[in-house]
Symmetry: C2
């Protein structure tokens, strides 16, 4: 049975989009519940300017409050040197950086051109390597941009090739606004694998247009072994406020486990975490498996 690793991004990518700032204790409880359900890699905080992202202002406190476990990676989002220094001091075992396939999106999202974000990666990746911290990077809007529309695949492949030179533990391609379809995933994954053989790939899908599970299946079929997702499907894209955001971990785990893949996650426990989070948030979250439940057991 093939192993698929889930990177749970709810505590960072998900909660960052919530209208109110969650208490550190709730974040810690969420992460601990996720670990108890079998999650082994969690994006836990963002080391960015707390004035721009007040929901993540407690990044250091979150890291300080987490149980130290050799079998769990705590990922901190980092955009620049200052963020890296904070993440390192806080004890992150892995940093995730971000670039974008278009300048328009990079400027809006990170206040920098694509070239500038790539240079930040090229500066910081060696520092992380020297410090024994895993470092990876995500190409956002890899399948389409809210400002520029179609994104040429050649550009994404070239960007992936350049990023790979600073030796990421993994490169992620993100469908940040949920426009991708499976054929594109198959093609882009294939082209990057051809351009940079041996580079581990991760995929990050949003379910904005109901294609995320299909895209995840296409990615896995193309050999990708790591997927991002968010418990409950919490999180959204600030540029598409009515749209569902990250694919729900419950929905991915349901599909993958019925399809014969092993994520190491207990679906029933995970559904419980989603229900708990839903109670904390006081509203239904987008996960459909959370509502419907897993596969019905025979009652006959």
């Amino acid at each position: 049975m093939s192993q698929i690793e889930i990177v749970e991004v709810g505590p960072r990518d998900g909660l960052q989009s919530e209208p109110d700032v969650l208490a550190t204790s709730i974040k810690l409880e969420l992460i601990e519940r996720l670990i108890a359900a079998g999650v082994r890699r969690v994006e836990v905080a963002s080391f960015v300017n707390p004035k721009r992202v007040p929901q993540m202002a407690d990044a250091e406190a979150v890291l300080a409050g987490l149980p130290r476990r050799s079998d769990v990676q705590y990922v901190g989002l980092v955009l620049n040197r200052k963020g890296f220094d904070r993440a390192q001091a806080a004890g992150c075992t892995e940093i995730g950086m971000v670039t974008a396939a278009t300048d328009s999106f990079a400027q809006r999202n990170q206040g920098a051109s694509t070239e500038e974000t790539v240079r930040a990666w090229e500066e910081i990746a060696p520092l992380a390597h020297a410090a024994g911290i895993r470092a990876q990077i995500t190409i956002s809007v890899a399948f389409g941009c809210p400002f520029e529309g179609e994104v040429p695949m050649d550009r994404v492949v070239a960007l992936a090739t350049r990023l790979s030179q600073a030796a990421p533990v993994e490169l992620a391609i993100a469908d940040t606004i949920g426009v991708a379809v499976p054929t594109q995933v198959t093609e882009l994954v294939g082209r990057i694998r051809q351009a940079v053989p041996g580079l581990p790939l991760r995929c990050h899908f949003h379910n904005t247009r109901n294609t995320a599970v299909a895209n995840a299946y296409a990615a896995v079929s193309a050999g990708v072994r790591t997927l991002d997702s968010s418990v409950g499907g919490i999180g959204g894209c600030p540029f598409a406020p009515n749209a569902t955001g990250n694919v729900a971990t419950e929905d991915l785990v349901y599909m993958l486990s019925r399809a014969g893949f092993d994520t190491g996650i207990d679906l029933n426990k995970l559904i419980g975490v989603g229900h708990w989070l839903q109670e904390q948030r006081g509203r239904p979250l987008p996960s459909m498996v959370s509502r419907a439940g897993g596969f019905p057991k025979s009652i006959s």
Copy 2:
């Protein structure tokens, strides 16, 4: 570019689950709007006992009110001889019958065993052929049953083989409760194609666990060229009341057209139909493409 035919089931399978009975005029307007968006095959009514399904009591009036078009198939659901006689008299150009992969579901849904529903098909299919009416049949709960749990694939293949002997224009396999995953779709479609070469297959997916678009893509990849869906994603399964039902036509058309398939449907017009239906119903419908819109155009 491969053609994919969409059978729009909203006016029957969708509206049947609505709590109130819609006016015939609204149904007619819905169907005419769908045709204007490019739909060419529509499940328009159900010829069943109006006491059991009051939403479909106006089946004859719907058929009488529709424009006669040689390029559009109007499908009527039929479960028995009486229903067939009504559908024929009303002028349906196609009838759809239903059986189930489990007796428990057949009894609950149709008040008959699987064997009895198969015999009804074997009685009625020749009558339809003689009358020049297209006849097809759906195997419901083909991927899992709410009462019996797992459904052995051998049983579905054997059922498909038997049903094919009465020469359906097409056989449909339905994931009535939305439990299927793409690997199962690939396998079941492949096995039926092997058992009954040349039999056109249709797939009917529910998005209850967020897998419908993935399953549709798997079906199309396995050679299926006809898919059921419902505008707005209207409709549900009476046995899973909190769960989203039929996959939304908008969501399928978005994925298929971005993946290079031609459905003949204009996505923007279709989204307009969904918005109109949403206003009629006074609540948001499940289609995600309806909310998010199609692929963003470049603004640069």
